[in-house]
Symmetry: C2
Subunit: 289 residues, 2 copies
Amino acid sequence: MLPFANITIIGVGLLGGSLGLAVKARDSAVRVVGVGRRRESLAAALARGAIDEASLDAAEAVAAAELVVLATPVGAFQGHLRTVAAALKPGAVVTDVGSTKSQVVRCAQRLLARRRSDGIAFVGSHPMAGSDRRGPESAREDLFTGATCILTPTAACRGDAVEAVDAFWQALAMRTVRMTPAAHDRAVARISHLPHALATLLMTVPGDDDLRVAASGFRDMTRLAGSDPEMWRDIFATNRKEILAALRRFQGRLDGLVQLLEAGDDVGIERLLAKSRARRHEKFPGGKQ
Amino acid sequence: MLPFANITIIGVGLLGGSLGLAVKARDSAVRVVGVGRRRESLAAALARGAIDEASLDAAEAVAAAELVVLATPVGAFQGHLRTVAAALKPGAVVTDVGSTKSQVVRCAQRLLARRRSDGIAFVGSHPMAGSDRRGPESAREDLFTGATCILTPTAACRGDAVEAVDAFWQALAMRTVRMTPAAHDRAVARISHLPHALATLLMTVPGDDDLRVAASGFRDMTRLAGSDPEMWRDIFATNRKEILAALRRFQGRLDGLVQLLEAGDDVGIERLLAKSRARRHEKFPGGKQ
């Protein structure tokens, strides 16, 4: 059912651990090797049954892999690719679970260019699933189930490698979508990185007294602020241009609302509220979800 | 158990309808009269069992009430208070479920001043519960259960009236908190009205193509945008000063993040993310909620 029988996951935190659990749940015969920096994380991933084998040595751990998945914070990808490039088995496919794609794809294709003649291919992936928890202890077999995975193949990607990676995510019950790395980065800046920034900033606005009466609306709106700072530092660093564009777009909207309020333009405010509500109901029908 | 045996609710939408259901569930002997503008809403509230009796005439409907609750959009309160002021029974207590308090309390105390000698008192309330749905069809007996209700008594409020209103909300399983109208308006501007504004604006940023890949984070962050525009127009209109102050505070935070990104200050960004995360975990322990 799964298009790969030997999988090495580099990084066994929430995403890597959940990926291992999902793979083993679909087909327990697939061999999953986990690579980590800390023995405790690897032990936890082994104990959870997310991996069959643990390794502190990425080069050694990828030698037999048909699929290698980078599942650390994006900022560490370059180091991992340098480490494993020469050790990859001919024909191996490399993918990742990173939240930004242009820099990642460019870097991976450059670092793996010399192995192209061995049939080694990199196909960027972004499974859009997560949680405000981290570590293999929080891994869940169904983290990816029903969510969207964006694939960002380029002209340099072998067609069969793209199909295999697509089939892999679909086998884990994900809906796959293909976009260019640039279109991906602009879209996620607007629908994921901007909301993350807003949640982070919102959490810093109210004082302790104000928070005594915070209700579910505020809790929902700041949930993303609870996420892993290291992972998100790398996302901001590797998608800076598009995140800045999205923040400036939002600043424009905010300035517009401030002007309406300063002018006491109740009609204009109601029009804005109604327009936004109509768009919300059109795009996410079925009320609260 | 409930401190009032005769209750008139003006407005039988989501909040008024839910209030009626909650009252009847606690004590079916309490008589609940509902006032509405539209026969269909009143019929729906009657059919749901949220009210015992329906009326299109507020003055007539309050004549026997020990407690009158204003549950329409805030902008309609003034008209209702003018209509009912002379008709209220001596000793009656008036409260509301409005999301802003300074203007509401000032207006109510002015319009009911002539009835003060009859023992009529206004006590402002803000039960912090809601939904992105509206109308009596969406009313829920447990909408208020476990939520916070802010009471904003002033020196002009009779002590026993304040205690009775407090006991009323507590009997509906709400946690009550007391604040001045001004402190209430500043706190809710930051923890409720600002998040609402952000959700409304965020919904307008991504294009249709971007929204194809929107995931649960974006859905959560825009849920508030699905709320009733008329109700929220009134909230923005009656808490303009504090909402503007909260929006400007947020603009300052946003400018700070833009500067960090422009400078490529990854360390500063990680520090901001970590600080916000720590505050989130301190204030809302227990992860996702």
